[in-house]
């Protein structure tokens, strides 16, 4: 189902969707967040091979924070217009679960690295509450062994740096939620801090969903409950899950009952959400500053330097290329991928303009793979290749006319045959002409010119 579903439209007349997002993404640092283990959980050959005393939570293991992961988190915050807390720290979040060997997750509670900021969408901005850094948990696979229901645990993912981006409840439609997620993924990929592979769980989506009645909206009140839908690993599933909740909660509210505050999972096969667990309150997590990890004090100059290092962001690049070079949406979508490629294309486009070639044409050639996207190659060589290709595809009319004239003069017998009705000799003339003007020449153009001259003889 989607936003066009008539039953949902009926609901939204009575209720407004109030939705906030929580997005987790694994940072692609070389090593884990608090230890020197390899951070590459999806491509490990075997389970439990990227571990050490720290990420297995063994007594005496001392976590030390990964400098790059912190820098990337703050840069992401700067890219999204967040305020950066100059004083920050890590806290322990306690809960018992087999994916958490220490019995607590190292996370950030009251002083995250970043607060505020916003993600732009075509439906309006979605304000951010915060961005914090934490460690990922071990991966659990639920299975049945010898008839017994068990969970199998792989710690290769335990301790991988994980950013959590929390939004305000500004999302007003399933489509906006998906666009918000896509935009976040684009920025993280563009900054080259996360691959955001959704299928592998490198980026995970959660939506906090509730419905506001017309009376609540008039009084400016928020709903008195929220339902958290977790473990969504595609943008389409996110849209479906929210649509499903809008309908389900609408039905519950119609009967005069408040939907239960709970965590639900999403089943993409059945397109339904289901109760997962009763939510723990913040007090249950017994947050406390992690005594193993001293706090951080950043200098304003450091933050400024990181801000300065940020590349121009994808939205701005698209606007600029559209305004300056007239690139179409398809080209913009395909070409604006990461900062390195943008810098390369900027130098290619600049040189093209200098040589009197429209950057728009270069972009089209890159999109239809006539030219290779390869930041390793020099702009000069790219344009040389382009010129070779285009020079051959349309031949100078004067040059072509002279060439064919010469061929016809040299082969009077063949001309006579043509005039006697043996039109197949055209193929012979074509072959002769193409050999002179080049094999990549526009054959249609060559054929038309031969026929024109033959008729005039």
């Amino acid at each position: 189902m989607n936003a066009q579903n008539p039953s949902i439209n009926r609901r939204t007349e009575a209720y407004t969707l109030i939705c906030g997002m929580e997005v987790h993404a694994e940072l692609k640092t070389a090593s884990k967040m608090f230890c020197g283990c390899t951070n590459n959980p999806f491509f490990a050959e075997k389970p439990n091979t990227h571990t050490c005393p720290v990420c297995l939570g063994m007594p005496g293991g001392l976590p030390v924070a990964n400098k790059t992961a912190i820098e990337w988190t703050i840069k992401l915050g700067l890219a999204l217009g967040c305020d950066i807390n100059l004083f920050s720290k890590f806290d322990r979040k306690h809960y018992f679960y087999p994916d958490l060997p220490k019995g607590y997750q190292i996370s950030q509670y009251d002083i995250p690295f970043c607060t505020g900021g916003a993600v732009e969408t075509s439906h309006g901005p979605v304000r951010l509450t915060r961005i914090h850094l934490e460690e990922d948990t071990a991966k659990m696979i639920h299975a049945t062994l010898d008839g017994e229901k068990v969970s199998m645990i792989d710690h290769n993912r335990a301790g991988v740096p994980l950013v959590e981006i929390v939004s305000e409840p500004d999302v007003t439609s399933p489509a906006q939620a998906a666009e918000y997620g896509r935009n976040l993924r684009e920025i993280m990929r563009y900054l080259e801090i996360a691959d955001c592979d959704m299928e592998q769980g490198g980026m995970r989506l959660e939506a906090n969903i509730s419905l506001q009645s017309t009376e609540q909206a008039e009084r400016g009140q928020l709903p008195e409950y929220k339902v958290e839908v977790k473990n969504i690993n595609s943008f389409r599933f996110l849209e479906n899950a929210i649509s499903h909740e809008v309908e389900r909660q609408g039905e519950v509210l119609d009967t005069g009952v408040l939907p239960a505050q709970e965590t639900r999972g999403y089943n993409s096969t059945k397109d339904i959400t289901f109760t997962q667990r009763a939510k723990e309150d913040a007090a249950d997590y017994r947050y406390m500053p992690d005594p193993d990890l001293p706090p951080f004090q950043f200098a304003q100059s450091q933050i400024k330097e990181w801000q300065h290092q940020l590349p121009e962001l994808p939205g701005s690049v698209r606007t600029r290329w559209s305004d300056t070079y007239g690139l179409n949406n398809q080209a913009l979508k395909m070409l604006v991928v990461n900062a390195e490629q943008t810098a390369w294309l900027d130098s290619v486009f600049a040189l093209a303009e200098k040589q009197g070639i429209l950057p728009k044409k270069i972009a089209a050639a890159l999109v239809n793979k006539q030219l290779e996207i390869n930041p390793e190659s020099t702009p000069e060589s790219v344009l040389k290749t382009y010129q070779k290709q285009t020079a051959s595809s349309s031949v100078d009319a004067q040059q072509l006319s002279t060439t064919i004239q010469k061929i016809l003069t040299q082969h009077p017998d063949a001309v006579a045959k043509y005039q006697a009705g043996e039109t197949q000799v055209l193929g012979f003339f074509m072959g002769q002409a193409m050999r002179v003007v080049g094999n990549n020449a526009d054959a249609g153009q060559v054929r038309v010119e031969i026929e024109r001259q033959l008729k005039q003889l």
Binding site: C37, T38, P47, N48, T49, F96, L145, S151, F296, Q297
Partner: protein, 96 residues
């Protein structure tokens, strides 16, 4: 503390307890809390909260892999109660 609090903590810890146990545990918790209560008599108005006691700040490591501190799979699984094909195996908690 009430018996319902004890039951709540037991649920969070995934530890099954019976009626007699929660009665005993509640009494024990209350005894401990009574002792700890003494601390609340200390006047702490105007005292900055202590996040840590070492005085250290900005302790980082460079983003480098240290193969030498990593375990082999055998070493990682050595203390596990039960394993299967390189995984640590535990009873399932989430029931769908």
């Amino acid at each position: 503390m009430k018996r319902t609090d004890t039951q709540h903590i037991a649920t969070l810890a995934h530890i099954p307890i019976n009626n007699d146990q929660d009665k005993d545990l509640t009494a024990a918790f209350n005894e401990t809390l009574e002792t700890i209560k003494t601390l609340q008599e200390v006047k702490v108005g105007g005292v900055e909260p202590t996040h840590q006691v070492t005085g250290l700040e900005n302790v980082y490591r460079e983003d480098e892999v240290h193969k030498d501190t990593m375990f082999t799979q055998d070493q990682a699984l050595k203390n596990a109660h039960r394993t299967y094909q390189g995984f640590i195996v535990v009873p399932r908690i989430l029931e769908k």
